[in-house]
Amino acid sequence: MKKLVQSLFVMLLIASSVLAQDKKITGKIIAKEDGLPLPGVSVKVVGANVGTQTNTNGNYSLSVPIGGKLIEVSYIGFLKQTITIGNNSTINISLVTDSKQLSEVVISGYQSKLKSDLSSAITVVSAKEISERPNPSVDQLLQGKAAGVQITSINGKPGNNAFIRIRGTGSINAGSQPLLVVNGIQIPDNMADEFYSTLNANDIENISVLKDAAAVSIYGARGSNGVLVITTKNGKSSNGQISYGFQYGKNEKIPDNFTLMNAAQKLQYEYDLGYENSDFSNYLQTNSFPGSATLFNITTAQRQAGWDNLIAQSHDWKNDILQKGDVIQHQLSVGGNTDKSSYYFSLQKYDAGGLTVGSDYKRYSGTLNVTSDIKPWLTLSNSFNLGQKKTNETRDRYNAQNPFYAIYAYNPYEPVFLSDGTYNYTSQGFPILEALQNNPELQKYLTGLNSFNVDIHPIKGLNINSKLGLSYDDYSRTSFIKPNSVLDGYVGDPTNKGSKTDNGSKEFNYDWINTASYKFKVKTDHNFNILAGQEFQKDQFTSYSLSKKGFASGDLSSQDNGAANDGTNTTFESAYTLFSLFASLDYNYKGKYFATGSYRRDGSSRFGASNKYGNFYSASLSYLISQESFLKDISWISLLKIRGSIGTSGNYNIGNYQSLGLFGFGKYNNQLTSIPSQIANPSLTWETKLKRDIGIDFEFLKSRISGSVDYYNEKTNDLLFAVPVSTTTGFSTVLKNVGALSNKGVELFLTGDVVRSKEVTWSINGNVTFNKNEVTKLYAGQNEIVSNGYGVFKPGYAYNTFKLVRYAGVNDTDGSPQYFDVNGNITKDYKASDAVILDGKSPNPKFFGGFGTSVSYKGIDLSAQFTYVSGGYTYNNVKRDLESWGDLYYQNLAVGALNYWKQPGDAAKGVLPAADPNGVTYDTDYYLQKTSFMRFKNLTIGYTIPKTITQRVKVQSLRIFLVGENLLTYNPNHFFGDPEVGYGSAESGLTLPGQASLYSYPQTRQFTFGLNIAF
């Protein structure tokens, strides 16, 4: 911290040093179309390396050295102008809008390029689209923002990550998350999630989503799931401004779309099923009924009196367990630049309370980015990001240790406390409210990245660059089952009460990248850009786990306070390396015809001795038709480009050392053991993806309408599978490269500026992606692989297509459940072997995307964003429980469970089977539900106080705003519960995205108020 402050002062000093200059010119720069002032426009004296930028009012002031004759004015989205200074001391300029592509710079691979020069599929998400949102996870903020990118929240826990799928799920066992690149540095896959949740979204300049081969092949063995390139702000477009932002609001559970039984309904249900609950038994005992009295042999009036007694003490457990969490954010940032240096500094504190006691998220993060032109041929820059997040965790399991299970399972007539003041264990045998106090679990992550960059440009066109990235992630977790807590009573050592685990890990990775690029022309029309590079990555991981039991009190929790070891204290260590060579060539003719090629050779320590190296290539072509003279005259076409690419990339995301034959060590009866632990597979290698893409980029009507359409076809080969070996060998699987799957689809992205006037702007945007996923090959002799008991991988079907027994409705004579056997005949006999593959029903959506609009009128701005997903299915275990068929009579249920068969004729009404406490609610397709939904994701309304007022108090700008997140959900298929399903239950192993719901942390909605002030 001290160092940060010192560095800041240094930067401020650099910023304020003024060099002697000669002539001063001032002026105002506006947009020609609407006359609005343009802030951040670069104004440079040609040939003198002197420049400035306009302030928020579009004004600039520049000292022109002797001999300065021309100024060059440039701004993204506008045509560059060069103006003679002459004798003028005031030069006002109006800029004309340009095609967006011709001026937008995009970070692609190891270089930045003009968007118009690209022949690849890249979507850029700008700072504006992700800032000011009260969600601390950058990955979640991308939901609905980019065509081809499906974002699904893992669950609603504050700060939790999301599943990111770029162009479908491309792997089954080797990971499907994209590669994350931050400020040019490849982040290890293990750490990516922590970066998404510790990076401050307000510090991000933009995020490039690299999708096709032309964009990702240069990332070789790590590129096949796509690449997200995050670039943090560098101060180049700021003007020494000091900004402070504040947000405050509330986090709450999105209300359920179903109703639980009230006490009267539940008691009647129990009676009908022949169940006397213990609260009623206690009532009978304490109200001097004879010992033989039961719920069923007393009079109706007596029974009703007892019920009334229970109804009187009933309550809604949601009110007891759930809370609204506070969301508070403070942020300070300073950005600026001088003629030779630029800097950006920021600090943020973000706190979000969770939905229960014992659940929250707290984060500190800081960024310092500095760039300086040390010599005319040398630029040094360094960017540093550090974030610490601290979360208090609740359990994500399938019992009452999970508060989000308990809110449904506890019966309304069961009191929180017994008459003696102790916690009521309830029918679930566990008081969650006690556990939230006495079983705390705390997790901390310290995540950082320093990227140091040397750029040497000795001659025009040549750039030699060396970049060293150090990324670090420190994880620690403590879990304390306090002595004498209920859970301690269940699982602890009665003679050594209380147990405490401290575990964690450290991961350090360095990524050293050396590149040389050379840009040159041959005969003016032939433009070349060649790049060659080398990269070396080494990752070192260590972890530890310590456990003690026997604590004197719940206030003492360090390991040395414990009496005895609880379990084995362990440490673990591993390392991997990746060594790569790569090159690319870009060529264009007259800025109209473009061709690129790339090549990368990767060697990885993870792969077998006979397959250490892999080669990846790509080629692409594009044609910027709008640069042709025959189209230049058609004024409504601002830009038109056709492009196509083909190439390969890899996925090496498997564990370390998996190719080796190993003996591991352990303990038996406190003595050393050695055991065969892994079968050798010297030919183990990465998955390879062949990616093909054709696309059109367009901008019409002075770029008022712009967008792109892509068709892609991606095929993953050498799919890694844990291939079963004969279990008689004592092993069950060996990892082999055997399968194949494909993703094909179309993406469309459109924006439109409906109104672009001086007073009012209104724009709309939208994107949609249609994706079809299909497993095309498994290993030899293998017809299908079952995943998690619900789905299968089978050639010809989508990833994880459901395989379930089909429910055939209620038998009208006796109310029993009926099923279809494999042949389609109705049977009362449930056999798991009657499960059939339900073609077309898988968690993969058929299409998804987002749309939104933003309006501004004078100082008022409004933006609204929606996301949608359609066509996926999820196995709804919550519905299976809460609308079960009588076997869960002892817990609370939804009112839907009352709707069961009672007499012949009922079956026609589509009821549940007759409620049977001895029956089993089997898994059938009855509980498989479509998860299509549309969510009003974000609404932001802001008001910027007029400058005329704020400037009186030396404030450059002041904006107040309101943000709402997850405001409304349209759930057309009536999915029982929230239709956005990521994890079903982390601790029950239901972690395949969207496969099954099972009481994981619920999605939240937020309302926050915010204020941004800049000096």
Binding site: N277, S278, Y425, T426, S427, G429, L462, V486, G489, Y490, V491, D493, P494, T495, N496, N514, A516, A532, G533, Q534, K549, N565, D566, F572, S574, Y576, T577, F579, L581, S604, S605, K612, N656, Y657, L662, G664, K667, Y668, N669, Q671, L672, T673, I675, P676, A680, P724, V725, S726, T727, T728, T729, G730, S732, T733, Q782, V786, Y830, K831, A832, S833
Partner: protein, 478 residues
């Protein structure tokens, strides 16, 4: 000049290629398979590793998802699923298992076999002597035990089997590419016997009950002969076991009997699997968990079985506890609730006990049905019962009454020790549950599925689908 710059920078770039040697990375916690058997201590570590495999999560170390300590009792008439429990192993209780959802003992047993085979394949790296023959015998005995557990679970009963009935693959190699078929049932049993017989000759008498030793091997071999209906062999192996057992492991008296279940005495125990707190294996969880507000049982003791225990039967209180949970009284199994100190539900698993050896011999002698053998059977029953009941007076039983008493004592003695299902199966009997409920007085929710008929195919558990995926040569049970 310009070109030189480019060439120099390109050269500099590729000169950095020395990182290649970093591409070979080896783990920090394992060694290559080739270096695993060099010294004697490597073999000691490896044989412990083989014993450790018995702790497999669906084997003797199973908790609530298939376990030798509970599953064979759940599959029988000894237990009733508890309405307050987590409904663990309900699939077994309802006889609903399928190849996709079956007992995973298969994998754990073959893991044990693999570890034993590694030792046997490398055994000649040791020089001849007592160390070598003892380690070799231990490995053989473990291999035989694991194969036997597979046989009695997945194959048909031996008595009455045809020559074409299938057993299980008897694996004697570590080659990971082998795809063995199921050996014939009779051959499989013969190989189990052969391994035990070979083990018997080389093994030490005093390895301790945490390892195989002479009496343990003989006792297990006696059990195998009982399953095979080879009564005379069963009698002689059981007799050898009783003779060869160290005094510390002789039949427990009624007064020491309860301390066996707290691991305070090794009386009666011939072979056990050790569980310590650091193993994080809580085998008792399969039967229930204690809370400050009573024990939350997964299964209740069947009320019919409960009433078969007389009050002067020391086993009644050693095996069964009474609890009030959530307002209801239950009889729960407390055999695995844990030691006097240490983590709850952690206790050694007793694979074979002296009590069983007497019962095996009594049953075999009864079936030999000669005058001296009947006398001997009655004598064994009286010996056992006089060590289980307080104030016991010797019985005089003959004929069917003696046979029934042997079976009754077997059920009472070995209840909740993974025996009942196999005992019904090997004798060709049905599983036939009482209609009592889960509560301590026999009221409450009764079993929905009351049993399976004699010789039902359900007696052969399905082989896990996963196994057949990896080896299509393995024929599934019908």
């Amino acid at each position: 000049m310009k070109k030189n710059f480019i060439y120099v920078s390109l050269l500099a770039l590729f000169a950095l290629g020395g990182c290649e040697k970093e591409l070979t990375q080896v783990p920090f916690n394992s060694i290559s398979s080739n270096n695993a058997f060099v010294t004697e201590s490597d073999f000691i570590n490896a044989i412990r590793g083989a014993y450790g495999a018995l702790r497999g999560a669906s084997y003797y170390g199973g908790e609530d998802g298939g376990a030798m300590s509970s599953t064979p009792d759940i599959l029988s008439d000894n237990l009733i699923i508890n309405s307050q429990g987590r409904k663990s192993q309900q699939t077994f209780f309802n006889f609903n298992y399928t190849a996709d959802d079956t007992w995973g003992l298969w994998n754990n047993a073959y893991t044990t076999i693999l570890r034993a085979n590694y030792i046997l394949e490398n055994i000649n790296k040791l020089s001849d002597g007592t160390f070598k023959s003892n380690v070799k015998a231990e490995a053989l005995a473990l291999r035989a035990l694991a194969h036997f557990d597979l046989l009695r679970t997945y194959a048909k009963k031996y008595i009455g089997a045809t020559d074409s009935d299938l057993g299980i693959p008897y694996v004697t190699s570590t080659d990971p590419t082998l795809l063995p078929s199921r050996d014939l049932l009779k051959k499989s049993y013969d190989l189990v016997v052969a391994d035990f017989v070979a083990a018997k000759t080389g093994i030490a008498i005093n390895n301790g009950v945490g390892r195989m030793h002479k009496a343990a091997v003989e006792a297990l071999l006696g059990r195998v002969y009982l399953y095979m209906g080879q009564w005379q062999n069963c009698v002689s192996e059981s007799t050898s076991a009783i003779t060869d057992a160290p005094a510390a492991n002789a039949l427990a008296s009624a007064s020491t009997f309860p301390s066996i279940w707290l691991d305070q005495s090794e009386k009666d125990v011939l072979f056990k699997v050790n569980f310590l707190d650091p193993d994080n294996i809580t085998i008792g969880v399969g039967y229930g968990q204690a809370s400050p507000a009573g024990v939350k049982p997964e299964y209740s003791v069947d009320y019919n079985l409960f009433t078969l225990y007389n009050n002067n039967d020391v086993r009644k209180n050693a095996y069964i506890g009474q609890t009030v949970f959530n307002g209801f009284n239950f009889n729960y199994v407390k055999k695995y609730s844990g030691r006097a100190s240490g983590n709850a539900n952690v206790v050694d698993y007793k694979v074979i006990r002296m009590g069983e050896v007497y019962l095996n011999r009594a049953e075999a002698n009864y079936n030999l049905n000669t005058a001296p053998s009947i006398t001997s059977a009655l004598q064994d029953i009286n010996t056992l019962e006089s060590n289980r009941y307080t104030n016991y007076i010797n019985k005089l039983l003959v004929g069917q009454a003696l046979g029934n008493e042997i079976q009754l004592q077997r059920r009472l003695e070995l209840a909740f020790e993974g025996s009942r299902f196999y005992d019904l199966k090997r004798q060709g009997l049905a599983v036939s549950r009482s209609s009592f409920g889960d509560r301590a007085d026999g009221t409450g929710l009764a079993a929905a599925i009351t049993g399976i008929p004699a010789n039902s195919p359900k007696f052969q558990l399905p082989i896990p689908t996963f196994t057949i995926n990896g080896n299509p040569n393995i024929q599934q049970n019908p």
